[in-house]
Amino acid sequence: MARDAALPIAVRHLTKSYGTLRVLDAVDLDVQRGEFLTLLGPSGSGKTTLLMMLAGFVRPDCGSITFGEREVIRLPPHKRDVGMVFQNYALFPHLDVTANIAFPLRLRGIGKAETKQRVEQALELVKLDGYGARRIDQLSGGQRQRIALARAIVFEPRILLMDEPLSALDKQLREHMQIELRQLHERLGMTTVYVTHDQREALTMSDRIAVIDLGRIRQIDTPKAIYERPANRFVAEFIGESTFVTVNVDSRGCSFNGIPLTLASQPARKGPHHLMIRPERLTILEHAATEGVNLLPATVTAAIYQGDSVLVHASLTDGSNVSVRASASARAPLVGENLNLGLKAVDTYLLPADESAA
């Protein structure tokens, strides 16, 4: 299918309340033609509700959803023509694999010969050719996942929705399927909205990620931008590990607990800020600091051997706890030992302490 057959999605002011609980709060969202967009958020954030509204299963209180030019907000689910992969796959247990995949074709009045051919193509696409006669309960979790995908794309919908489709699989299979889904998306090019609470999955697969919390989109950007330049503390803490320490910015520059810091860029405003520290950006300095590396003295509180590395927990001079990975081959730090941790100036990232100003 050609990429230009995919439809963009525009969501405006989408709102839904259950009683006093506001599940979605005037959400605006644009998904580009052929884009792979992930809705990422903790459970109860409203990400699944938003997906269900795109599919037409949940009726919003107000708002607008357009697929391309077409307003679909009041369209019942069976007229929306979007593919969907359910969390539990929802493969019909009374039908075999072929009948499951042929289901949407049958409803569209497609002839026997073409149905047969398209079912075979879909099976081939998900690498399960020859499985047509199997019953659903004869399939493994990974195979069901693929069949559910085949069924969702066989009628060539221009939009594909996926609700945590990999959450029931074990870790190894999940990581494998992430790559496969991504490759399939590149081949088919349909606009895809993917829901997950797994940040690594979101980072791996998405063109863009929309981080949702309490019914609001907190940030929407590319995986790299979301990870490296989170818009607020919620995003920073939800994606990847991070520690925030309070630093002060004044006319002489930025300092942490009296230690002057070199920053990647000077913040626009003065006053207290939060410095984001990611464990993988910290190093243990054996020698004196070099140019462009900030030096943070710390005391080791724990050193945990983890095979490929040693995870070192340390407390900074202001008492906040950070962690850093040390090479397993190097000398393991001892508990109580004083270290110098290095943070490159280019790796520094500040958020204003006053969130509302963000």
Binding site: A55, F57, H78, M84, F86, A90, F92, P93, R135
Partner: protein
Amino acid sequence: MSKAAGPNAEGLRRDALVERLALFSLSGPALLLVTMTMLLPVGWLFWLSFLDDAGALTLEHYRRMLVQPSYGRAFRITFEISFITTAICILLGYPLAYVLSQLPRRAANICMIAVMLPFWTSLLVRTYAWLVLLQRQGVINTWGMKLGLWDTPLTLVHNLNGTLIGMVHIMLPFMVLPVYASMRAIDQDYLRAAANLGASPTWAFWLVFLPLSLPGLLAGALMVFILCLGFYVTPAVLGGGKITMVANRIATDIELFFNWGAASSLGVVLFVLTGAILYVASRVVRLDRLLGGGAA
């Protein structure tokens, strides 16, 4: 199987045996009760059906059943009534169970109590209550004529109508319960998936909901049909002597003719036929399980 040799093998084997015996002994009282109240009397009736008045072995009772048309008629009526009752129970019970299954659980539970209410009243009381309602000067005829719906009293009772009304009323919960349970067990996501793939609510019902609720429907139909085969009180009271099902025929044979052999042979034939139906149906239902509706 070769016995494992090794430290404590003998003792461990004995422990396993003792555990199994202890578990088995728990079922002892029930087993004894079933033997005394079921196996012995049924076996005795079975034996009686092969004896003539003098106590000699004979196949006379079974021969008579084939020869005398009144016996064949009793069996035909029994199966006809059971079949019609089952059909009406499906027509009434399936939509009712569907409505219940779509209600919120709390409301459904309250409605379920209403469905179950007849269960808590004696069968005899319910049957005579229908007599009061349905007879010529009964509540329904009186009101119907007062309201000018019909002029002459309808014959609602002392015939097939009355028997069917009474039996459907008694059997309906047996239909609703398994159907409701199987409908509740249908994951809403199946219907969502059907809609998402382009099925209108009507199509989703025919292509997904009905097939998935079919095991419950078959179980309910089977239960109703089998239970109907043994009905006695309802056809006796509401049939007004015109409806002779096998159980009524058995009663006549004993009460009027004191012919235990004839009565026993009727019981044996009904028992065997019921068993055969159960066997065939269980094959069909199991086959259905194999084709789906199993663990998802």
